[in-house]
């Protein structure tokens, strides 16, 4: 690849023309065209991911300049996808809904060990607890990478939880090897869907990344509002009539008791209320003077 980037020029070799034509055909044959970042994905992994997507999406890896040229000569709408072509890019062709595509790709993410010299994509933490290693030189290796280790009950244990690399740190060979042996895989590999073109609309990843909990919250709120409105406006429907009746009944009860309306329906509660008041007043009084209240209570 490196050898060839040199002589892109006025004359375009036939194989490149073919490739561009091929891309354009794929574009017109699918409802959705995505630009996918494939940075840092080893080719074996990429192969696996492509395989997993079979039937839902085709991933085509090719050089950016060919992608660029293919898009450039497509319709005005599609042309705008050019701005997402950068770094290591692949094209994705599908007939699926863009949102669904995004979800599928997210699900397809896998974790991988970090390589020597790799940059920590997040804080890398080694949790305390037992390991599967039998006692041996591993203890010293752990310790020399700043992980407090020891031996307990015939097993190597990590004594304390440690952050061994901060996000952005370069992970040296020794640590990378230890992390691999501890089966800590800090690197997340996945097809990074930057944008999808579908039927005249470009969906960027921020739009595609749906926050389901927000929607659930919205639904909850909408349902509550509908309920509040129908009860507060006393709109009778099958869904609300029970509550409306209960509300009216409870209001009448509140009114009767609070206004001390003497009616057969509520006399029991009024008696009970008076009795409870008497008991609580009696209690207060008896706390001050036990003799103030007859011991009948």
């Amino acid at each position: 690849m490196a050898a060839e980037t040199k002589h892109h020029s006025t004359h375009i070799p036939q194989w490149k023309k073919d490739e561009i034509e091929d891309i354009k055909k794929l574009i017109s044959a699918h409802s959705a065209v995505g630009i996918v970042g494939v940075h840092g994905i080893p080719s074996s992994q990429l192969q696996l991911m492509r395989k997993n997507l079979r039937g839902m999406a085709d991933v085509k890896v090719c050089r950016n300049n060919l992608i660029y040229r293919a898009l450039e000569t497509s319709s005005d709408d599609v042309k705008q996808m050019n701005k997402y072509v950068e770094d290591q890019t692949a094209l994705l062709f599908s007939n699926e809904d863009p949102f669904k595509l995004y979800r599928i790709l997210e699900k397809g993410r896998a974790s991988a060990p970090i390589k020597a010299g790799g940059i920590a994509p997040r804080d890398i933490v080694v949790q305390k607890g037992p390991t599967s290693f039998p006692p041996g030189p591993i203890v010293g290796e752990l310790q020399s990478s700043g992980i407090p280790a020891g031996i307990e009950g015939g097993k190597v244990v990590i004594r304390e939880t440690r952050t061994v690399a901060k996000k952005g740190d370069v992970v040296n060979a020794k640590l990378a090897s230890i992390l691999a042996r501890l089966e800590i895989q800090p690197v997340e590999l996945g097809l990074d869907l930057r944008a999808v073109y579908e039927k005249g609309i470009i969906y960027e990843s921020e739009i595609l990344a749906i926050d389901e909990t927000k929607y659930i919250g919205d639904i909850t709120q909408a349902v509550q509002r509908a309920f509040n409105l129908s009860i507060n406006a006393a709109y009778p429907s099958k869904a609300t009539i029970g509550t409306l009746l209960a509300k009216a009944a409870s209001e009448s009860r509140n009114l009767a008791i609070n206004a001390e309306i003497i009616m057969p329906d509520f006399i029991g509660e009024l008696l009970a209320k008076a009795n409870t008041q008497m008991l609580s007043l009696a209690q207060v009084a008896s706390q001050k003077d036990a003799n103030a209240i007859s011991n009948k209570l």
């Binding site: 009114l255 009616m263 029991g268």
Partner: protein
Amino acid sequence: MEYVYAALLLHSAGKKVTEEGIADVIKAAGLEVDVVRAKALVSALEGVNIEEAISKAAFAAPAPTAAPA
């Protein structure tokens, strides 16, 4: 409960809760009017902020409400 509902109806209709008002509503519901009850109701509501009394959860002693009928 009829009398209390009648009072609530009058109140929510924006009317003053009077003996006559209650009597009219009770009659319209096909019942004979018990003057004592109507009077007692009106007297009990004197000086009461109905809006407040309605919304303030009443002393919830027993659950008997279920029973009345």
